[in-house]
């Protein structure tokens, strides 16, 4: 995939990781005590305590890794300096050169085809002579 598409994909990946992170944390966070009037919420050990503590670490590590990957891709961008004008100038130079080489090719091709016709003519004459189709001069 070309690098700009990779960058776009990486940006979308960062977005997906971000909302997955928030969604998972919000879903799995254990309840917290809001006010001293209400009793301590029951600590349901449905989710393993280790799991609940590990997930933010893993997900944030993945997020940071994705961001670093994005930076690496940005560094790999082959942006040539000079901007639009330099590119357009180069394109017109290349077009001129392309035309010149194309005409040279055309000339060579025509000369080669002419020689081919001559050789074919010679062959047909030689073949006719061999087969004695024409009276020799």
């Amino acid at each position: 995939m070309d690098i700009i598409s990779q960058l776009q994909e990486q940006a979308n990946t960062i977005a997906a990781l971000a909302f997955n992170t928030f969604g998972t944390l919000q879903r799995d966070a254990p309840p917290v005590r809001l006010s001293p009037n209400y009793p301590e919420p029951p600590a349901n050990p449905t989710e393993d305590a280790a799991n609940v503590a590990e997930q933010p670490k893993l997900m944030s590590a993945a997020l940071v890794k994705a961001a670093k990957q994005f930076d690496a891709l940005v560094a790999a961008l082959p942006l040539s300096e000079g901007g639009e004008d330099a590119q357009l100038k180069r394109i017109s130079e290349l077009q001129v050169e392309n035309d010149a080489v194309g005409q040279e090719l055309q000339r060579q091709l025509e000369a080669a085809e002419k020689e081919l016709k001559q050789v074919q003519e010679l062959f047909s004459q030689a073949a006719d002579n061999c087969l004695n189709l024409k009276k020799p001069d």
């Binding site: 942006l79 639009e84 080489v101």
Partner: protein, 169 residues
Amino acid sequence: MAATATYPPPPPYYKLYKDYTQNPKSAPEPPPPIEGTYVLFGSSYTTDDVLPSLEEQGVRQLYPKGPNIDFKNELRSLNRELQLHILELTDVLIERPSQYARRVEEISLIFKNLHHLLNSLRPHQARATLIHILELQIQRRKQAVEDIKRRREEAQKLLKEALGTLDGH
């Protein structure tokens, strides 16, 4: 089998082309290509395919405007801003959870800017691809010229040799 509508009949212009084989000029010309905006199946399209700027889409532009934008640095700084805003969002969710909306909006703003910047790199990529293709074509043509010259010389050599053997015979 469900009842479906029949296909619409072909447009009646075909009668005008009855004598096309005898006289191509007796039938009407095809319509000229459309320029500007046109309406197709109720929605309007434009023939001028240009990336609309962010202001036209109602989105604030975070990176500086100007003729030459330093894409790499802007992309990197936008990436850093994004990470910062994600951290801010986590903090807001811990302390003042009801104020998430503004942070989420800012994060989506950064993403829109990011994608717009990437999209504006596409014309540059197109020109670079064109340059690459032209260079390849020039190289192939030069190679073909060399090949033809070589073959012609070989053919000349063979003909001379053949002539030599014939004369010597």
